[in-house]
Amino acid sequence: MLFPAKLVELQQHLDYLQQEFSTLQGRAHPNLAGRINVQLTWIAALRSGVSMVETSLALYQAAANPALDTWRQLFSTMQALAHQVQALRIQQLPSYLARTPDDQYLSNLLEAVHREVGLADVHPVASLHQPHWFAASAVPASHPLYYVPASLVSDPGELALAFHEMGHVLFQLWAPDFGQRMQGAIADAIRRKEQAIQSAADPSDRQSMTQALLEWRVPAFREMEEVVCDVVGTLLGGPAFVVTLAIGLLATSASPFQQHTPAYPPLDCRMRLGGVVLRHIGLADPIIDRVEAGWAQVQQLYTTGRQRWYSWLYDDEYFRQIATAVQEQLLARGVTPYSAGIGGIREQISVGAAARMDEEQAYRSWAKSTAAELRRVYAPASSSSSSSSSSSSSSSNSSA
């Protein structure tokens, strides 16, 4: 009876989700309403999926020959449905229930950033009262959900990090081409390293390099998306992204040459990548020299814990190969990478990043004036004066 009970639970959750989403849609800002509209369609598809599993369950007969039993396949389908429903119920819906009066403002701001880089068909939904630093739920790519810190309202200094999240959206927006091209770039990098092994003079080096590369293959693919998103962030956000990421990640690891979670490369990789990529595209900037000098001081603290071939696996050429592949994709799709004097919001946050590395008072002044300016331009008329509403208001179901 457990299996039918689970299916009943899924249907009940879908009933609940449909009701909640329908209610929310009626008072949502345009981007959120668009996202919910897609989700309501998918809720209907999930209902069909659950019904199909119910039908399959009714038809199921334990096969006399165990090798032909279809139980595993039936259960696998139900599992996939359960994950979808759970994600909608405990991740998506709470983001909407916890919406703040400033969600629409940040959604508008993020939409403007997308428009500036050439992604006019993307209508982001910002969620401020949420437990992440920055994150994206990139499906559907037309209306991605961006989790951003509420502090962004009064201090836009971290806005540059949204360019990393934009990378996740590109994987969906340009699927499957973008992902396949990036897989190709990783495969190319592995082939280059295989060739390098052949030219190593010492046989014992060749052996240990071969083993290191063999062990690195799977992690390289597992962390591919996050590495690519850092490259996207660098290419779209320029020095401001590199500076902001470096400040944000600076003190996050006591073993920066090791991978902590499968989806992310070692911290050292993320701290070095931006400078390498900017130089590769001809955007060397004194501010990057300062970031790198700072990171070099941290590297000195961790003389142990670096695998023998770490620097070879994560060499600068690896970052350049990925950057070249990403840049080709961006340009082919009409996306405009950062360049000096580009203007718009990207120019504004570049000024902020430079101030951040220079002098506290200058940065504070920039943050205050930029926050006010961005609000003036992008906040909906009804909330244009509630400059601290996001940080002071509690989560509520009131109309945004």
Partner: protein, 141 residues
Amino acid sequence: MPVVMNGFAYTSYKHQSDQELLSRLSNAILVLKLQAQGRLGQYHLQSQEAEQQRETLVEFLDDLIAGTVGGATKLAFAGLADRVVKVNPADVQDRVAELRRLRQRLAGSEDIRDNDFRIVDSLQALLEAEAAEDVRSLYRL
């Protein structure tokens, strides 16, 4: 039988790739098992569907064998190939040879043996384990 799996539960592009591959593999195995049971009609499936799913399995095995022997170059097969090797690195060559024989039988329209179904079931289990890495956070309590 295929269920719409556009999803909000994908935590990454890799997770999406794993989950989509799992869905295709599971569906192919299901259809071929039903064919072997002589029950395609009960599920309103035609024999052509079974033939298509044979091709799906052939393609799957081609990619998996390539990934296991030479190192995966496709995202969805990177984790799976790694898991196939790690089941027992000592006999991986024998198991790859077994996969090649299975691939030949499928491509040659031969009957699928009981042990063939056990093999593809075990591959599905490995892929489920790979895909499950990314959904644990949905069920913390």
